[in-house]
């Protein structure tokens, strides 16, 4: 069957927008906002959208545990099977969906690295709703770069970045990429 290697175009960094400390501070602020908005930690579940939303969700949960002294369950959601572009982009390797608790009646905070068209979040709504019936779903993202194609808005944003559609925003995380950073650049064909 031979999966021909995807053509790797070269990513050229134009600038580094967030450094490790910026990322850390943004996540701490988001964590506080989440607790504030939720009026505490009751019924709170933090669910990261794979791939990079998952470690962010874990970090937010750890941060909340830090300043609130309460354990907030966190998990990861693979939305691949709910995407509306499967037919266009082809199948990808699936990763496990690990949701820590029954979602019925919970306040689910979805976490992703970059909010762009909104289509991933739309897929995540469907995925969450197939798992249970939360009381509310809220959305936290590290970066909002604009260019929405669906009427979706984040509740908690680490950094708003006005970008051109041709630009690529990349989030690097220690757990996956070996460093924390937000980069902006372009693919060189």
């Amino acid at each position: 069957m031979g999966n021909a290697p995807a053509q790797k175009r070269e990513f050229v960094v134009k600038s580094r927008l967030l450094e490790p400390d910026d990322v850390r501070r943004a996540l701490v602020r988001i964590s506080h906002e989440i607790v504030e908005r939720n009026k505490g930690t009751d019924d709170l579940v933090i669910v990261g959208i794979r791939t990079r939303g998952a470690p962010l969700a874990d970090r937010i949960a750890a941060s909340i545990a830090d300043f609130e002294g309460a354990d907030v369950p966190s998990g990861a959601l693979d939305v691949t099977l709910y995407r509306d572009d499967v037919a266009l982009r082809g199948p990808r390797n699936l990763e496990a969906t690990t949701v820590p608790a029954d979602l019925d009646g919970r306040n689910v905070v979805l976490v992703d690295d970059v909010l762009y068209t909104g289509r991933t979040i739309r897929a995540a709504f469907d995925a969450v709703l197939d798992l249970g019936r939360p009381r509310a779903i809220r959305l936290a993202v590290l970066v909002d770069r604009g260019h929405r194609e669906l009427p979706i808005r984040a509740d908690h944003v680490g950094k708003n970045l006005p970008t051109a559609a041709s630009e690529i925003v990349k989030v690097h995380l220690q757990e996956i990429d070996g460093e924390d950073a937000v980069l902006i650049g372009e693919y060189r064909p």
Partner: protein, 312 residues
């Protein structure tokens, strides 16, 4: 991903691992209240069955429905269709005209899925052809073995019984050999011709000789209708020499797995108590079949159908 799945020959060990890993991710969906995924919405899958097979057809049908594909079932008796009804090719073209994206075909004639794949643009999945292959059965069997033994490499698997007429045996030997398992075919020479040695499997005639060394004992169904062909003297003698009873089970490793593709002939190839023992994973095989078939439908239909899409 490949366009058609006709034979286990097509799959490398990396391909098999991708299929099984994907199945593993999908397996969890079958345990939750809402078992449906929207992935193949708008796609149409046809079960084209020229041989009666309730279990395989239902498994494929459910797999497609769990992924939100539309499913058409087309059953025909292969003999009557040749005698009078529409030809295989005309049926294929009719389905093509209806715009099906995949045809899952079971046929009594070896190679029929291969021929079908040359006539239609849709993906063709072999759900068992004659005495040739049954690749999805082999994949679900590999999945079931991998659930218990992390690594298939070096695993000692005995396949016992009518290898000659068994498409399950052919596909399993190919898959297991690809994954590096050590396969021993056991049965009388009337059922295991010497050419089978070219598949990379060992051949033995005595089940008792290998009981202590094997990790998996895979029993093939004795096709009672072949009794007239004088392949062995009687079912009683077959059961005595090659049937897995509790006495033989007791001599095997404690972690041995007993497998069977179903439907079983209890008291012939397998003792009733053996099929219900904790070592038997025959029902797991059925459940895993669903996940493996979902995995294949997702990998084969999930992408751009024309250009053999890549993974990211």
């Amino acid at each position: 991903m490949m366009k058609h799945l006709l034979s286990m020959d097509q799959l490398s060990s990396a391909d098999i691992v991708t299929i099984l890993d994907t199945a593993e991710s999908l397996r969890s969906v079958t345990d939750r209240p809402i078992k449906k995924l929207p992935t193949l919405r708008g796609r149409t899958v046809c079960n084209l069955f020229y041989e009666a097979s309730t279990r395989t057809r239902i498994s494929f049908e459910l797999a497609a429905k769990r992924l939100s594909a539309d499913v058409i079932n087309f059953s025909a008796d292969s003999k009557s269709s040749v005698a009078k009804g529409e030809s295989f090719k005309d049926t294929a073209w009719t389905l093509e005209a209806m715009g099906v994206d995949a045809i899952i075909v079971r046929h009594g004639s070896s190679g029929a899925p291969h021929q079908l794949s040359q006539w239609v643009k849709a993906s063709v999945l072999n759900a068992g052809d004659g005495q040739h292959e049954h690749p999805t059965q082999a994949l679900l069997d590999l999945y079931s073995m991998r659930e218990h033994f992390k690594d298939l490499e070096g695993l000692k698997v005995a396949i016992v019984g009518d290898v000659l007429h068994s498409r399950v045996a052919r596909s399993n030997v190919k898959g297991l050999v690809t994954m590096g398992a050590d396969v021993i075919l056991i049965g009388p020479p009337t059922l295991i011709p010497p050419q089978a040695a070219t598949w990379g499997a060992r051949i033995g005639y005595d089940l008792d000789e290998v009981l202590e060394e094997i990790d998996v004992c895979y029993l093939l169904r004795v096709q009672k209708e072949r009794q007239s062909e004088q392949l062995f003297p009687s079912l009683r003698e077959y059961a005595a020499l090659w049937g897995l009873d509790s006495r033989r089970l007791a001599r095997m490793k404690p972690e041995v797995l007993v497998m069977h593709p179903g439907p079983m002939n209890r008291g012939v190839e397998i003792g009733a108590d053996v099929s219900e023992s904790p070592r038997s994973i025959i029902l797991d095989q059925v459940a895993n079949g669903l996940a493996v078939r979902m995995s294949l439908l997702y990998l084969m239909l999930g992408g751009r159908s024309e250009d053999g899409e890549v993974f990211e």
